[in-house]
């Protein structure tokens, strides 16, 4: 099968000379690397919107019902003061955008597209046209989602979880087309994800270079493989559920509305059956990225490669049978809660294994604190906090109290920001030279990382405290509650942290765009790494390698191997004995 991919493109040398027009090169490109860049730009653009929404939310919580600076020209009626319905819209869209249009496009969309063919030694994805379509459809979905901000009644305001019947009956929220567009956009996005997932799975199974056995694949490819399987099986459930929700809203069905014989908990079952695998869709690629970057900058093989791969497989299996832990107090049969508690406790084990293996990788290494490594280390450390706080809510009795409080908000942000976003930053700093052929500034990278790390913790750690104090999530004004008054100063501290976190992203934006156009030309293998993408030119041309594809001789993490004088031994470098044997 690998030989097939090598011969499938007999005109490789010519292909590079085909001049494609602007539209075919930059907009409707079938090149996996261009599609990767497109997903990256989509994700980063949406991150700005999602981030600004977060700051609006935080302003309201720290200084409730005061004018949000800079919002006066949008909210002209109130002079910039957020109304409760608008506040609900802000947190609904913050989460929707960050999950579906930032983390998924950057981790699964961009790095999935970029890394898979380059790291397994393929010239492109198995279905390049489907790949192009996958981005076009995702972009369409993004446009539909953003359009919701401009319709009368405002955007969806029922939370990113959109619990029915609040979401299924327009009168309950007062939003009409906003919620409809939310459904349509996610439906379209589901189609995009499905196309991407099929492509990733097929490519990894069929198009690996000669010698690239499954257990010689870099762990980031493993993580993307498993993510793609989860995407393929989980997204259709959401896609169906949002279609049913849309029918309830527009065609008069009542899947989720009791007055018509529907069942509100059906939505929750469908949503979380997708939603929990989704959490792992968000975190698995970041785990893969960390597993990729730690060995490179510790100059040491990953500790327990097989355990790392199998623990991800275990997480993928278990992620289907833990979803009920989101519903312990939903009215679901409490006996069922017990079974979900058992599975939820079990799924903590593979995450623990991964953490200890990352520590094992650092042990005895020669750690270079370059910017990608700093972000990967932050990932490991912050993921530990996010993982441990999850154990509180796994215990059903404790969850009774902390469910729907800021403790949950703290937990999810330690996992998806402390985990996925630090993973995304690590990946951007690490692969930028290969992706764009230019190096990013290390100084600006440090200036971005350190304040981000500090302000991240200042923002999200105190959320555990106010959560334990009982502050509910999704409330507009904590000052309406007497028992929350004494901890309001924490809300102010959190907001100051969030503002700092926002400002800390400015060096990143400058660094990204400056390096994109003016950064120094990147060498082929700037980090002295072992995996195949570093054997292709920076940036790799169309079809990635010249006439012949690299052959793989060993696993991806042979750093500081005794048989090599250098402290790295690339996958594509033939063993000395073999070279001799081949000549005779």
């Amino acid at each position: 099968m690998s030989a097939h991919s090598a011969t499938a493109h007999p005109h490789v040398a010519h292909a590079e000379h085909h001049e494609l027009g602007f539209v075919r090169t930059y907009i409707f490109s079938t090149d996996h690397k261009m599609i990767a860049r497109q997903f990256l730009f989509l994700g980063l653009f949406m991150m700005i919107i999602g981030g600004l929404l977060a700051l609006v939310i935080r302003w309201q919580l720290a200084w409730p019902e005061t004018a949000v600076p800079g919002l006066g020209w949008i909210l002209t009626e109130t002079g910039g003061i957020l109304e409760p319905g608008q506040y609900n819209m802000a947190f609904t869209m913050h989460a929707t955008i960050m999950i579906f249009f930032v983390i998924m496009p950057i981790l699964a969309g961009s790095f999935g597209n970029f890394c898979i063919p380059l790291m397994i030694g393929a010239r492109d994805m198995a279905f390049p046209f489907l790949n192009m379509l996958s981005f076009s459809v995702a972009a369409l979905s993004g446009v539909l989602m953003l359009a919701g901000f401009f319709v009368p009644g405002g955007h969806a305001a029922a939370g990113w979880t959109s619990y029915a019947p609040l979401s299924s009956v327009p009168e309950y929220t007062g939003t009409n087309w906003g919620q409809n567009l939310w459904c349509i956009s996610l439906f379209v996005l589901g189609v995009s994800s499905m196309m991407g997932a099929i492509n990733y799975i097929t490519t990894i199974i069929n198009m690996r270079a000669p010698g690239m056995k499954l257990f010689r694949m870099p762990l980031v490819v493993w993580s993307l493989f498993i993510t793609a399987i989860l995407l393929l099986l989980a997204l259709p459930v959401l896609t169906s559920a949002v279609a049913m929700l849309l029918f309830d809203r527009t065609l008069g069905t009542s899947w989720f509305t009791p007055s018509g014989g529907g069942e509100p908990l059906l939505w929750q079952h469908l949503f979380w059956y997708f939603g929990h695998p989704e959490v792992y869709i968000l975190i698995l690629p970041a785990m893969g990225i960390a597993s990729e970057i730690l060995p490179v900058f510790a100059r040491k093989p990953i500790f327990g490669y097989h355990a790392m791969a199998f623990s991800m497989i275990a997480i993928a299996f278990l992620s289907w049978v833990v979803y009920g832990h989101h519903m312990f107090i939903s009215g679901m049969n409490p006996t069922l809660g017990l079974s979900f508690m058992v599975t939820t406790m079990i799924i903590a084990v593979p995450s623990a294994i991964k953490t200890f293996n990352w520590l094992g990788t650092l042990w005895g290494g020669r750690i270079q604190f370059k910017v990608p490594m700093l972000n990967a280390l932050a990932f490991v450390w912050m993921f530990v906090i996010g993982g441990l706080s999850g154990i509180f809510m796994a215990s059903t009795p404790v969850d009774i109290y902390i469910q729907d409080t800021y403790f949950i908000v703290a937990h999810i942000h330690y996992v998806v920001f402390g985990g996925s976003i630090f993973g995304a930053f690590a990946a951007i700093y690490y692969w930028f030279p290969k992706m764009f052929g230019r190096s990013m500034s290390a100084a600006l990278g440090h200036l971005h990382f350190w304040p981000t790390f500090v302000f991240f913790n200042l923002t999200f750690f105190p959320m555990h405290i106010i959560g334990v104090g009982g502050q509910m999530r999704r409330i507009y004004n904590p000052l309406q509650y007497e028992f929350l008054l004494q901890q309001q100063h924490w809300n102010v501290i959190i907001t100051i942290g969030a503002l700092g976190l926002g400002i800390a992203q400015i060096p990143f934006v400058i660094n990204f765009f400056w390096s994109l156009f003016k950064g120094p030309r990147a060498p082929v293998n700037p980090w002295n790494a072992n995996t195949l993408e570093w054997s292709a030119p920076s940036p790799p041309p169309h079809l990635n390698w010249g006439r012949t594809l690299p052959t793989v001789y060993r696993g991806p993490y042979e750093y500081s191997a005794p048989e090599s004088r250098e402290d790295f031994l690339p996958q594509w470098q033939p063993p000395p004995a073999r070279v001799g044997a081949g000549r005779h």
């Binding site: 109304e83 409760p84 609900n88 619990y163 019947p165 609040l166 929220t173 007062g174 007055s259 510790a298 100059r299 040491k300 990953i302 327990g304 355990a307 107090i329 939903s330 009215g331 409490p334 006996t335 017990l338 508690m341 406790m345 903590a348 084990v349 623990a352 294994i353 293996n357 520590l359 094992g360 042990w363 005895g364 020669r366 750690i367 270079q368 604190f369 450390w381 441990l388 154990i391 509180f392 215990s395 059903t396 009795p397 404790v398 009774i400 109290y401 729907d404 106010i466 104090g469 509910m472 999704r474 004004n477 309406q480 509650y481 007497e482 028992f483 750093y559 500081s560 005794p562 402290d567």
Partner: protein, 247 residues
Amino acid sequence: MLNWWLPDNASTYGEDIDWLFNLIYYITGATFILVTVAFLTFIVVYRDRPGRRARFTHGNAPLEIVWTVVPSLILVVLTFLSVPAWSKIKMTVPQTDFVVQVTGKQFNWQVTYPGPDGRFGTPDDKTLLDEMHVPVGKPIRVNLRSQDVIHSLFVPSFRFKQDAVPGREIATWFEVTKPGKYEVPCAELCGFGHSGMRAWVYAHTAEEYAKWAAENLRAEAAPVQQARANEPPAVGPPAVTTRKGKQ
């Protein structure tokens, strides 16, 4: 430290929840400290210095088995320790003659007492808005309903929380240990007036409660605290988002 912020507990099973919370807090806290010490030690000790080569190792099977088995055991024990509290709180409702019906609606809690005949749905039912009076030292059975969307009845001081789902009645309970006035927010997003949807539980001593009930729950007593003027209509939520449902 984190547990300092827990509100004072005022229910019987709150202690069980707090005990588990503290247990998990100490276990995860110790784990975090261990991992952090190892993490920081490694990145300081094994930082890049000239003339040193990284240790070439692919893993250590016994070590990996240990760090798989030990967390598994801890989590199994935690699961078993959680079961009794859960089954006591959520899987059973103790025998009691004190039953109230709580109905969530956008954006109030309606608390209905069965009246002297002890049955709901009869003319002597008494409904209070956003306030509940209960005696201490007696299990209170709450039949929880919703008229419109999902709400969640949350009493932080009792460690009590249960979603109210339209279309079904959920039987749940608590028992208060200390007389006092306790805040009851809604914990599930229920619309633009979600924030501020709040009731109060007044827990009285048995004698005081009897006095209160005699004055307020007798058939001929004047209705207490009837619906307020600016309250949204009981059936069918308001169609426009006006500025904050003033509670």
